[in-house]
């Protein structure tokens, strides 16, 4: 083996060891587990069982439906908001830029559990601060966390609150790589700011927007902590049950590792498919 190759393997080895043991091997092993009947003490080979059950299980299709609804609503709202915020933060017209930046970026570092706690508290039906505020404005109060649609709305608001700044940072870095003279030329030609945004900014940002969308889609498919803690294990009545919660329940409440693995693979298939669709939209056309 040439010396350089040996040196390269020496530098790679520690990471690769961990990577294979805790990532590659588990990816393969859970594919295998999904083909086993794991309901008894002794596992037996039965490929149709878990995958067949997945197709018929109403609890799984409910979790799948909720996850997709969440993704389809939350990701576009957040991406639009993040893009507008990035443009605003990049604009010389904005006042108090440092404080605005802090307000939107700070949620990125807030612990998931801490923010789940404060959202659950704020949206408390009896005298939570959101309802108290609504009441003081003469508006009707909402039983936020005990009504299926509003519980989902709270989860969507919470996740958007926490992650919009993260996406803004990514989009802002893309904005700053757009050459300024394009805008100066547009300004001289009297192109309005809205037209500048639609005709210059958005097309040039496309690769960054695609990247951020892929990250957000993968994140939204893995939604777990928020429905676990804010809506108390996917409540009310399974209205915020997600695929992540379903895998957790099957794996670590029922200890049915085979069925949980099949559900996890269904989740992974969705993540790969949606990422691929997004990348396909973002490809450079000849």
């Amino acid at each position: 083996m040439p010396l350089r190759t040996r040196v390269a393997y020496f530098f790679l080895a520690p990471f690769i060891l961990i990577f294979v043991l805790f990532w590659i091997w588990p990816i393969g092993y859970s594919a295998y587990l999904s083909l086993l009947n794991t309901r008894g003490a002794v596992y037996s080979f039965n490929p149709e069982m878990n995958w067949g059950r997945l197709l018929l299980d109403p609890a799984f299709s409910n979790a799948l439906k909720n996850t997709l609804i969440f993704m389809v609503i939350q990701v576009p709202i957040m991406m639009v908001l993040a893009t507008l915020l990035a443009v605003a933060l990049n604009s010389s017209l904005l006042k108090a830029r440092g404080l605005v930046r802090f307000a939107f970026f700070a949620p990125v570092v807030v612990s998931e559990v801490a923010y789940a706690a404060i959202f659950r508290l704020m949206f408390n039906a009896d005298l939570g601060i959101v309802n108290t505020t609504l009441a003081s404005l003469g508006l009707p109060e909402v039983a936020w966390l005990s009504n299926p649609a509003s519980a989902m709305a709270v989860i969507i608001m919470a996740v958007t609150w926490r992650w919009v700044g993260y996406n803004t940072i990514i989009i802002l870095s893309g904005l700053q790589s757009i050459p300024q003279d394009i805008y100066e030329a547009a300004e001289i030609d009297g192109v309005s700011r809205i037209k500048q945004f639609l005709r210059i900014t958005v097309p040039l940002l496309k690769p960054v927007l695609i990247f951020a969308s892929v990250l957000s889609i993968i994140g939204s498919l893995q939604l777990f902590t928020e429905p676990f803690l804010i809506t108390d294990r996917g409540g009310p009545g399974g209205a915020t049950e997600t695929l992540g919660l379903f895998v957790y329940r099957q794996g670590f409440n029922q200890f049915n590792f085979g069925y949980a693995s099949a559900a996890a693979y269904a989740l992974a298939a969705l993540a790969v498919t949606f990422s691929a669709i997004n990348l396909w939209f973002g490809r450079d056309r000849p």
Binding site: S30, A106, P107, E112, A114, L121, I169, Q222
Partner: protein, 279 residues
Amino acid sequence: MRLTKQQRRRRDTWALNLVILPLAVVWFLPIWAMIVFATMPDSGIFSPDVTLLPSTELMANVRALEEETSFSRTFLNSLVTALVYATLSVLLTSMAGWALASYRFAGKVAVTGILLGTLTLPFFVVVIPQFILVARDFGLANTWFALIVPPLFNALGVLFMQKAFSMMPNELFDAARVEGANEWQIFIHIALPLAKPMLAALMIILFLFSWNNYLWPLLINTRESMMTAPVALGSLIGVTRVSWGSIMAGSIILTVPMLVLFILLQKYFVSGIAAGAVK
């Protein structure tokens, strides 16, 4: 009537700030509410005429929290875990990134392909085998190993550092080779110091990831002496005998240090997050 350029600018300034500034206030409210509620008894939090001004019960809430969960112990567990994890991960991933950036060797394309190709897979795909491996096969549930080592699989740092190293001029390293330095010395004494800003950004992102990690520690470390702070705090949410004031006190103990770090090191946070986006 056509507006002059100056009038247009004034109008745009007003429109922008009238939308963004109130939105920024709304965005900061949950954090502010968290801080304020941590200083209140529950009778204050749930009072119909609650005001968002700090009260005096912070220490009482912290004491109640400590009695409920030995929160200081779990805080220390989280701190040690995040520090050791971030340090080890930076070392392992920068070594691997250096190998991919600096040498041609058999299997390089395959390694890069697998790192990139599995990046979009969700953690849920590996959580069950990881649990079986660590808890059953190794018998290492409720240990530092279980908290720190399995999450080291994260490959983002490898790609991040590979990019950082490959942007450095090769002449620098070749000159050192001519002087008789070996590859390890070149990595430690030349490449790593040059990559300091990137290492700092990576370290911060990894620290934050570990500090906030919830699902894996929830599953693997259930004994209170080895629990992390987010898991301990999460276990109190929805428990009626625990006051919301003390949960909020725990929340700010987890959050405020990160906010201070963020204010001090904003540049590194931002470049760590943005790095993924720049090809």
